[in-house]
Symmetry: C2
Subunit: 444 residues, 2 copies
């Protein structure tokens, strides 16, 4: 059963890269957007391109540029023009589609300008036009457009206060959608009466359409009245900016149009399609693991929770595989997805994936033939240039030889500097995609 740990580590990286490749934005868009003569096929629908005067492209999110490139490759000169907003550094050269780089996770003036360009474009489209909308993770911050009379700062304050009160993500989203001019289906209203096809790369657990990028092209079930109830529930009426409260009250009194509801006929002109998600990456990773001769298992794409605790569970599975061959025999590859969180207590540098691997490294210390890898599919784990890290049963011993104290690095949330010194960072560079994280536990 002796294995070369270097080989196991290389195979872990190979499996991770196979997962990444499956969610490459160009590839996933082309799988759902197929040109057949003068027809554009999008899953079960067919758009007769001769029936449309113009094809326009809009988009927002980290993957928008790469998705836009795929649209240009599929539709060529049929694209009349386009406008997309991406994160700084995430632009790519395109032919017809113009890119605005803007702030993320905090929206900024550039984002506001880019959104204005998108709205201006939509105002010029009509019933005989086809609009293709490219949505991906980060699309909420990258499409800022506060309701009339409100500011970006107003929105941020409200979000901050709701977060501090322990409001659920659904409650926070209900309020955010109602103080925006584009979220919660309102972007689809701007596009109406054009035909609208939204291609969506999911970065949320469960692929909830109205959560991804705050659902700009998806019906909203919440109301202004719900928002007032939520503020009352957490006693925030007196703490949020007065003009936000005033705005929501006017909305509840019918003075401001509601977000479009599922019954709104405008959605007859809308097709929302999930082109890629975390699961797609997990399935491709499993495929590669199987090809490499591993018994493999997809644990879950719904994984969430404090990253170091989630790491304990993953390490526990490695220990069980070593001891008894459960839940699957060696050589084994356990694959998990979703997205964990980190409660920051120190002032170090790292991200949820690197911290996951550091916590797991402590648990698998001394075990033979065990490798753990965790990486963000966007190539950026926290505020670092690494996607994640990898570790094996010798990692902690190698660290101690160099007089690094792993527990101290973990306590200080300083996983980046720990793995940097061991040369164990997983570096991919920007991947232009974003479907949360991919974790691997390999027992050779």
């Amino acid at each position: 059963m002796a294995h070369d740990v270097t080989r196991l580590r290389n195979e872990a990286v190979e499996i991770f890269r196979a997962g990444l490749k499956a969610v490459d934005p160009v590839g996933v868009v082309k799988r759902h957007l197929v040109r057949r003569g003068h027809h554009l096929l999008v899953d079960d629908r067919s758009y007769d391109l001769t029936a449309y005067e113009g094809v326009y492209v809009i988009g927002m999110g980290k993957a928008a540029a790469a998705m836009a490139r795929a649209v240009e490759e599929v539709l060529g000169d049929r694209v009349r023009e386009g406008r997309i907003n991406v994160k700084y550094g995430y632009g790519l050269p395109l032919k017809k589609i113009r890119v605005t780089e803007a702030g993320h996770p905090l929206p900024d003036e550039a984002g506001l300008r880019g959104t204005a360009h998108i709205i201006e474009l939509l105002q010029r489209t009509g019933e005989r036009d086809l609009v293709i909308c490219l949505i991906s993770g980060g699309g909420s911050a990258l499409l800022p457009y506060p309701a009339e009379g409100l500011t970006l700062t107003d929105k941020q304050q409200v979000t901050q206060l709701l977060l501090q009160c322990g409001a659920t993500i659904h409650e926070i989203n209900a309020v955010r959608k109602h103080i925006s001019r584009v979220k919660g289906g309102r972007l689809a209203r701007w596009a109406f009466p054009s035909a609208l096809v939204s291609l969506i790369l999911s970065d949320v657990i469960g692929d909830d359409l109205d959560t991804i990028a705050s659902g700009p092209t998806v019906p909203d079930r919440t109301t202004f009245a719900d928002c007032l109830h939520i503020l009352a529930k957490y006693g925030l009426e007196a703490r949020i900016p007065a003009r936000v409260l005033d705005y929501l009250r006017r909305g509840a009194q019918g003075e401001i149009p509601e977000t479009p509801k599922p019954s709104d006929p405008l959605f007859e002109r809308v097709q929302n399609v999930i082109v890629g998600n975390n699961r797609l990456a997990l399935v491709a990773a499993r495929q590669r693991a199987n090809e490499l001769g591993y018994h493999s298992l997809i644990l879950s794409s719904f994984i969430r929770g404090e990253t170091r605790e989630v790491a304990h569970v993953h390490a526990a599975i490695a220990q069980e595989i070593l001891s008894t061959g459960n839940p699957l025999p060696r050589p084994a590859c356990v694959i998990s997805g979703g997205e964990t969180t980190v409660t920051i207590r120190g002032d170090g540098l790292g991200g949820r994936n690197q911290e996951f691997v550091l916590a797991a490294a402590l648990d698998i210390d001394g075990l033979h033939d065990v490798v753990v890898l965790s990486g963000g599919t966007d190539g950026t784990d926290g505020p670092t240039d690494a996607a994640g890290a990898l570790a094996d049963g010798t990692t902690i011993a190698r660290a101690r030889q160099r007089r690094l104290d792993p527990e101290r690095y973990l306590l200080n949330n300083d996983s980046y500097h720990f793995f940097e010194q061991l040369d164990d960072l997983l570096i991919t560079g920007p991947t232009y995609t974003n479907v949360m994280d991919l974790r691997l536990v390999i027992v050779g």
Copy 2:
């Protein structure tokens, strides 16, 4: 795919009980202690009872009484006498073996007296005697015997200080073994030159022999010098009672005998046998799940970590099974063991198993055909009369109908009162066994 959730809940309890039954102390002892004519077979060894003058029984831990009953049933009149220490309320009527009920988790005077009886008994045994020692969880607190000149309070203070400094369990155990007259193999020295058979019911992750009950009959690899290093590492020399430091220094200078090391010839007279552990319960649970028609999977017997975070991972697996049939198809039963921890922030009543189920209930809220169960095999979860609890996708809705706020109960670590009002506690009464916890995730 519609299932009756009541049936799923009943089956979850049935699977849990099958796990419990497999680690019943009487059963596990009898599986490893077999009388064949005048021979006593213990795994691969055979003891010729005609060669021994007396057979004596000693024991410590929550399961000691039930284990002792099994020994009396196997050996009948061949047992000459015995002395065991159990937790208050964990005694059972026995024929030859006398039971001392004592304090746990905090040792007390009764425990000291019971230990003195055990030592006195061992001093009367010799080369032609056979001693059967019954070890189970809680055996460390239930066999208190501080080193000469030290008190129970001294030991507790040192343990407390080490815990607060973040010392590892191995470091804490090294020190504890060296300020005790019975732990770290020293009990085996008292028994020498008798033949000694230790039957051990494991309550620790990984079944580490020298950790269970602080390894009274197992060689110790740590030294007095190690203890001084540990105290120095955490800067505790000036903070622990002076007489403890003095004692350890005298030990390091060779003035006090070391704990017996693996090379010590006394261990030629000792056979340590693990008769039951968490895995045994998991395997039996899987067997019952299979009989009931479930696809089943043992996730790990090494599970540890903050219970509500571990619950997120378990719920994530349920969600994945519902969505994609990974890691196994429906009807599915995922089984896990080990032992989680709870960081107490509130002042409610509960235990790690009940809190696990409460956290999981929030995650599976609204899901059909999902049941989560978690229970302590000793029948006592935290300071409550419940072994654990169970929940399904309707639990949270039922709670809200009764105006219970589940998040508030979770924040207040008050899972007992939450489940008590819903009549969803898992009650077994004392089981007289202890192999950590058993968790089930069922998707019908």
